[in-house]
């Protein structure tokens, strides 16, 4: 028997258990968790971007109104037209409309010249175009506004982008449906893969758990060891994966020439949020699965 330890015991820095050093699972787990979070983050961000583009187009279409007022032939300046004056008065008196602006001739030609080309002849002068915005807070009845405008300026047309809006709405619905279905399948697969891989890894740890148990380790120590181990691997893996997902998305944004700065400004915080949520979800899933499997193994044993 080697000589007894010296009687005075100094508290030494607590040596870690190190039961996982160099395990195959220590290499596999972070890679798999990383791949899963990469896929989830990138997919959610791409879907969000698609939906966001449709949504913002819809918001613009929703908020923008155009009134086209036929002008009397022969007037040197369309702004003097009495029908236009009356239409403007009506619009300015209506609560819920903002940014009322009459377009100059060049802008008018640009906006409606193409579609009206067929109808414009020598006899028919270019109509006046008023663009205006709708404030989202006040509900303005389009029918009522049309009625009032018709009385003030007969023949005027109020365009509320109805066709475009319904097309965009349909597109949003289809897109959202497809995205939801894909997202459901994706999350199912990612979670199932995470849970399965971790369960499998923990099954392989059964001999280690047994040795720990027989060395007098209480349950909570064993559980803490294993969850801590998986927690660190998951932090590493899911962190790298989510980061790569974000990076990929940013790269695609920066490369795409048509990147709208407003869109980027809104999506950038969302990107961080999504990455953090998915990262947290995967880490949580990994840790909870580990706890569950290790507890199960412990319960099986005497």
């Amino acid at each position: 028997m080697p000589e007894a330890k010296s009687g005075v015991h100094h508290a030494a820095p607590h040596e870690p258990l190190l039961i996982f050093r160099g395990q195959a699972v220590a290499r596999l787990l972070p890679v798999l968790l990383g791949l899963m979070s990469l896929l989830a983050v990138f997919f959610v961000l791409q879907s969000m971007q698609r939906l966001f583009v449709i949504q913002s187009a819809l918001r613009v279409a929703d908020g923008e109104l155009t009134v086209i007022v036929p002008t009397a032939p022969g007037l040197p300046d369309t702004t003097e037209d009495p029908a236009l004056r009356r239409a403007l008065d009506v619009l300015e008196a209506t609560v819920g409309l903002t940014r009322i602006r009459t377009l100059d001739e060049a802008a008018t030609r640009r906006l409606i010249g193409d579609t009206l080309k067929a109808g414009l002849g020598a006899q028919v002068p270019l109509p006046a175009v008023i663009t205006l915005g709708r404030t989202p807070r006040v509900e303005v009845s389009m029918t009522e506004l049309r009625r009032v405008l018709e009385r003030a300026a007969p023949g005027s047309v109020l365009d509320d982008n109805a066709a475009l809006r319904s097309q965009l709405s349909a597109q949003r619905l289809a897109e959202a449906g497809s995205t939801a279905a894909l997202l459901a399948v994706l999350l199912l697969v990612v979670s199932a893969t995470t849970v399965l891989t971790i369960s499998q890894s923990m099954d392989l740890q059964a001999p280690v758990i047994e040795v720990l148990l027989m060395s007098g380790a209480p349950d909570r120590l064993i559980i803490r060891q294993f969850t801590g181990f998986v927690w660190r691997l998951a932090l590493l893996g899911a962190g790298l994966g989510a980061g790569t997902g974000c990076g990929l998305q940013l790269l695609l944004w920066l490369r795409s020439p048509a990147s709208d700065p407003a869109l980027t400004a809104t999506l950038l915080p969302a990107l961080v949020l999504v990455a953090v949520i998915i990262f947290a979800l995967i880490v949580l899933l990994a840790t909870v699965t580990t706890r569950w499997r290790v507890t199960g193994k412990l319960r099986q044993s005497f």
Binding site: M1, P2, E3, K5, S6, H9, H10, A11, A12, P13, H14, E15, P16, L17, L18, I19, F20, R21, G22, Q23, P207, V208, E210, V211, L212, L213, M214, S215, G216, A217, P218, D219, L221, L298, F302
Partner: protein
Amino acid sequence: MDQISVDFPARLGVLQDVSLRVPSGGFRFVTGASGAGKTTLLRLMFLGIQPSQGRLEVFGRDTRKLSRDQKALVRSRLGVVFQDFRLIDHLSVYDNVALPLRVSGKARKGDRDYVHELLHWVGLGEHADVRPEQLSGGQKQRVAIARAVINRPNLLLADEPTGNVDDGIGIKLMRLLEELNKLGTTVVVATHSAALLERFDYPAIHLEGGRVKAAGQSGAAP
């Protein structure tokens, strides 16, 4: 232990009506043919299995009344040498032996030297940093013994601790167990080595087909 029986789901009557006591501070051999139930008896003692019937006391406490944490406490006072060693493959010899110290949370400044000293004692001073897979059979067995005694257990259960080493080393290892015993540790050694039984004159519990055929003098429970 009173009238203990052990049934495995797949096999009934592996141990039948076994009653015995190992006095605290005692030294006992467990003998019997292969498959007689020696390992099973030791597994009972380190709370590795539950008796299907009967009453089992370890350190004077009825094991059926222990919570899981109390069982862990009991196990932390035990040292076990498994017949198949049960070393952790991916840890070095040093880490394998130091494991019970780390588990107990009683880390001391002298631990490092103590582990090395013990490894040296069992003849593995130069193998501290290798993995168990690079050891010979007898070397693995000695690592298992070092791990079992590192924590100064109150009760040491050793299953064939000398099955894979030559007689010289075997006797040295038995002397290690004897010294521990002299310091107050209760020792139970399962073996079928007739040579060992001849050389070391301690009482033997002889098992035959799951029943005790001849027990040495019994005293107080361990």
